[in-house]
Amino acid sequence: MQELKQASKACDACGSCQKGDKIAPLRRADKADYVIALAGNPNTGKSTVFNALTGMRQHVGNWPGKTVVREEGAFRFREKVFRLVDLPGTYSLLSNSMDEEVARDFVLFGRPDCTVVVVDATALERNLALVLQILEITENVVIALNLMDEVERRGIRIDDRALARDLGVPVVAMSARNKKGLTELAATVDDVVHGLVALKPRRIESIDPSIDQVVRSLVKEIEKEYPGVDNARWIALRLLEGDPGVEAEIRSGTLGKAVHGGLSLAGGQ
């Protein structure tokens, strides 16, 4: 009861929440209105957020690398059904380990309506590297600033409004293990998928014109070969970088296969 009272108080305090906002975990969801990805560095509380929103019991523990495959669940919020996808933790969209590729492929080729990046607020600098990579490829992003209880306990101060302004996407301070901030997170995600939030993702602007030209022409080639492919620019940059994994996956048409059957299904042959 005490917890419930606190939750509704938190909800009153949150700008995007409305009276009566309630998260209803769903046992099954055959038809979802929106697909939401849960990404982030290892051990930041993604599965804790997932369990709290969906009522499922994914493996949670205090060491990195617990979630190794994609797990799905669902919840209802404001009359809509949200399918939530819990991903393995990853430091980067550029890594090539198996579980990290699962996360990478879903973020790049799974076409989520919104990507929630769960970050460890006690190690913000480290966590922001992946945030910036994700902001390069999609603007529908919400930052879940998790472990805020630990931040307070250690006397760290974080200006979450300045962070949201600098990143150009919403930031929700929360503590998933204590069930704090979940309604705010759901409300913010709901606002983003309905286009109610102005999104100006921070991106790298100073790319050398000569490189940019090469990237553009490579993007054209990729799109000609694989019509309808997602994130051709990201693929082009990887090829230029000489990423052997991505090059092999392009050759065999298996890039993103875990998500929707691979590039060949996206239109190429």
Partner: protein, 76 residues
């Protein structure tokens, strides 16, 4: 000097990563970028592995890797 030479408890800044692409990429993903501050916090009892605090997390690396991380005293 290399990261292997940092005295226990001391801090240094990364100057360069003297290795090839996949290994270099991996280290950079974990936060070991030129300019980053690293502190040697722990040595494995039997040697061979050194744990560094970097950007708020402790990460252990093998000697073969730390030998190739060039460090300098941090400015300021």
């Amino acid at each position: 000097m290399s990261a292997t030479d940092i005295p226990i408890g001391e801090t240094a800044c990364i100057a360069a990563l003297n290795m090839e692409a996949p290994e270099k990429r991996r280290l950079m993903d974990m936060g070991f970028c030129p300019g980053a501050e690293i502190q040697r916090v722990l040595d494995a009892p039997l040697g061979g592995t050194i744990a560094f605090r970097i950007r708020g997390t402790v990460i252990a690396l093998r000697d073969e890797q730390t030998d190739k991380i060039e460090v300098t005293p941090c400015k300021n």
